[in-house]
Symmetry: none
Amino acid sequence: MSPARRIMEEITVRMRPGEWPPGTRLPVETELAAQNGCARGPANKAMTALAEAGLVERRRKGGSFVARPPVHSAVLDIPDIAQLITARGEIYAFVLLSRRLRLSADGPETALKSSDPVLALEGVHRAGDAPFAYETRILNLAAAPDAEKVDFSHTAPGSWLLTHIPWTEARHRITSVGADRTAARRLEIRIGTPCLQLERWTWRAGVGVTYARQTYPGDRYDLVADFAPH
Amino acid sequence: MSPARRIMEEITVRMRPGEWPPGTRLPVETELAAQNGCARGPANKAMTALAEAGLVERRRKGGSFVARPPVHSAVLDIPDIAQLITARGEIYAFVLLSRRLRLSADGPETALKSSDPVLALEGVHRAGDAPFAYETRILNLAAAPDAEKVDFSHTAPGSWLLTHIPWTEARHRITSVGADRTAARRLEIRIGTPCLQLERWTWRAGVGVTYARQTYPGDRYDLVADFAPH
DNA sequence: TAGTGGTCTAGACCACAGC
DNA sequence: CTGTGGTCTAGACCACTAA
């Protein structure tokens, strides 16, 4: 194996929470070269490649550091708000506002094409001591029967779903709306404040699992998506 | 500009249907080095980067060739507003509001990391007889030299770019903002009306091609994304 | 101002695949 | 075989910026 590749792989492997967590300073190029018995060229090549991949950050004079995970969520993933906020170093909390059992879907969630009984939840995600997002959620109990017994008073339904009911198809709809009376009160903002509204339907093998509508104050959230061929 | 970048940009620019169509054999590294008065290192660096970006194919002993166009994925991911509106059965029109030549980028488009001369455009997309979106756009003339001669007074720069300068990397940023004075006037809405703001940066082999910021009145546009894991 | 990354030079050896 | 890219050496200068 070539020195450049060896250096890349070794650093990649050691970049784990236990050993080299985000923010750790990495050896300078001359040091890497000496440790691997090669010239500075290959060491630079390896580090440059890691930087382009976004795994390390490099600053002249400052040195090279294990990159902190990006704050933005990709549109292509299903973001877990709890992880997002924790990753930003803030305290996350979910506050349940209401919980109702309904015999059939009848709102926007009908796009799930299910006539099964559903669980309707309403809550607020908080970051630190400020509201971060207002969420209404419909859970299809036929697809997720365990959900009826879960205590959602401090667990966000999205976080629970991500780890219990994997999805196979999803649809996102992103719009900009002015906060209505309800959202404004929940988010502690003025009525009409521009908000990013993210609607999401997910299915599992063609069966609707959940519908979620999340409202984010425009200045507290943005979606970033990167694309490259394959 | 460093030899490596100069070689990359020159080849990128000449890789157009008229000059170096797909399949054309490119000079060998020693030749590129001699032509640019540099060592083989930078020439190799430039060609390797172009190969990683998928713009050229390299084979030992065989040589380097202009790759078959990666255009297909481009059209899928970047929406063409003209097509969107036409598909809805409305009449589409683009109205150019301003056109300026600038010697270097200095706004949000600096994320394109280019210090080349740019073309700054401003215009409105119309659906039927109502404004649909307000757009400001920066075109890097080093990446798209033909753009200076194109008449954009009724052609949206995005539509033109899609068919002339394929991109390899793109970043989208989606936010919700209240319409400012300029946008409100262009879109014939009230100041503060919630709008979806889509910012897009695109690159070709690491060279910034264009930056676009499109503002849509919240009730006239939404983004929908469908996906299934692989 | 000194340390670090960014880039370069001029040469070298090797692996690989067309010829 | 021979030409090509892949990778390396040992050294150098410069640009940037954090200390």
